[in-house]
Amino acid sequence: MNVELYQQAIKDLARAGHGSGRLSAASASTRLDNPLCGDRITLDVRLADGKIIAIGHDTRGCLLCRAAASWLAAEVPGSSPVQFAAAHRELLALLQGAATTPAIRTSLLPFSPVREHKSRHGCVLLPFETLRRALTEAAAN
């Protein structure tokens, strides 16, 4: 497998920078670093009626990391935390494999070549993990 890591779809996502910038009136904010590579994201999430209604973030990272953060802000609003958790599981399955592979939504497929590059998994997962923590925090508030 030698599928292009930097597909147009990934570059477009990163360049679009959906959700760039911090959110006011966030339900929760979380900052996460990848100490191994120095990527860092600060992410705000706003919830209403049990749904994620907006995501904002300040992401310093590589193209893959920025594309993932952008994907979140473009795709997740409107979903519930449980629905996001499903997407997160799909991404993990896409990258690492899983005992029972869920059907993976089409919009995540551009990330599939990352699977072959273990050192880059953290780049894509960082924004997802940050949102997961922010949601946990929001639930605790």
Partner: protein, 405 residues
């Protein structure tokens, strides 16, 4: 599963190549290295050598994967809950010092650490240095007449101030195996953690740290058929997570500014600087190999040789065996004294017979002194030891007396 020690010797290049032939009975000091470790290390250096962690080029990816794979193999060998509980160190001594500094820094003046008089200096001196740094109290479990740790004294000596019981899993002088269940039960009673120094245990088979219900385990690669310069500290995840960093440097930090730094999660928090990557990969290969061996058969083989050795030594009135002479709860490490003969002289003469023994205090002065001695001769058996090795030793001892008396 069958086990043929003679065939096995072919997998240890030094044993095959030694000219004149060698009766290597110094395994407790260092075992010979298995070819799987040699191959893994040279393959690593020839095909995938790179620094790990931060690299995205193909060598760095391969080296990182190999290093983390070695961690997973060590976790498997120890039955650790996750590879993240495995910290690579430069050896057992470094692992024990890591605990004495990092866990040690969470202790307060007056807190107690319980050791025994049977400890190797590497599980004694780090705690003495901690005592000087932090004003903790060390307590020493006494020994039975035959040199076992006297656990009968434990109940009386344990106090609620005890934070850690740190004992050898197996004595490097007597081969006595510590009764871990008794120690753990007592430790739980006062909320103390339990550390085992496994330097002399792991060469005799995989260990189950979860089954033992302990908190720390330390061992060295070079004593379990692996490379020099590498060892393992295993610690329970929650214990490791609560420990502050020890050595500072690259790879163990988050954000670094002149004012201060944040630290990575375990195990990276405890692996400052470029680790011994090739050696970890070599150790991983050996641990994977050890994990698959027929240990029941190996244990029977080692015990048969042990019996032969003990019988041969017991037959001589000038020889005193140190430590338990029964075969229960002991590993095949035998120290003995020959009346009036200094161990260095004994070992020197044995060397002429191609028999490699070690003589001295074996870095366990309190234990040696317990026997009223300054030093002793030690013969230690490995899985590749043969009857011929034992017989060469017993024959050699006749010459020893002839030469030295």
């Amino acid at each position: 599963m069958s086990f043929d020690p003679k065939a096995l010797r072919a997998e240890f290049p030094l044993l095959m190549l030694a000219q004149p032939p060698l009766h290597y009975l110094d395994n407790a000091a260092t075992s010979q290295i298995h070819r799987s470790a040699l191959k893994a290390m040279s393959d690593h250096d020839m095909f995938q050598r790179a620094n790990i962690m931060r690299g995205t080029h193909r060598l760095a990816e391969a080296a990182t994967a190999a290093y983390e794979d070695a961690r997973a193999r060590a976790a498997h060998f120890l039955n650790a809950a996750t590879p993240d509980e495995v910290v690579f160190t430069s050896g057992a001594t470094a692992a024990l010092n890591l605990v004495a500094h990092s866990f040690g820094d969470t202790l307060r003046p007056g807190d107690e650490v319980m050791l025994s008089l049977a400890e190797h200096h590497s599980n004694l001196v780090p705690w003495q240095l901690l005592r000087e740094r932090r004003g903790i109290v060390l307590r020493f479990l006494p020994l039975t007449a035959d040199g076992r740790i006297d656990l009968a004294a434990l109940a009386d000596m344990l106090t609620p101030r005890c934070r850690l019981i740190a004992l050898t899993h197996c004595s490097n002088v007597t081969g006595a195996i510590t009764d871990v269940a008794t120690v753990v039960a007592a430790a739980h009673g006062v909320g103390a953690r339990v550390l085992l120094d496994g330097a002399q245990q792991v060469q005799h088979g995989p260990v189950d740290v979860q089954g033992l219900d302990i908190d720390f385990y330390a061992f060295s690669g070079h004593k379990c058929y692996g490379p020099n310069g590498i060892g393992v500290l295993w610690a329970r995840g929650e214990v490791l997570a609560a420990m502050p960093p020890f050595l500072g440097g690259g790879g163990m930090v988050g954000e670094v500014t002149p004012e201060g730094s944040t630290f990575a999660r375990p195990p990276q928090r405890f692996e400052a600087g470029t680790p011994a990557i090739a050696q970890a990969v070599g150790l991983g290969a050996v641990l994977a190999w050890l994990s698959m061996l027929p240990w029941r058969a190996i244990r029977a083989h080692e015990n048969e040789l042990l019996r032969r050795l003990l019988a041969g030594l017991r037959g001589r009135s000038d020889i005193r065996i140190l430590g338990p002479v029964d075969l229960d709860a002991r590993q095949p490490v035998v120290s003995f004294d020959i009346a009036g003969l200094h161990p260095h002289d004994v070992c020197q003469v044995l060397d002429r017979h191609g028999v490699a023994l070690r003589g001295g205090h074996h870095c366990a002065q309190p234990l040696i002194r317990h026997f009223g001695l300054d030093g002793a001769n030690r013969a230690s058996i490995a899985m590749y030891t043969t009857q011929a090795d034992i017989d060469a030793l017993l024959d050699g001892l006749n010459d020893v007396v002839a030469v030295l008396r």
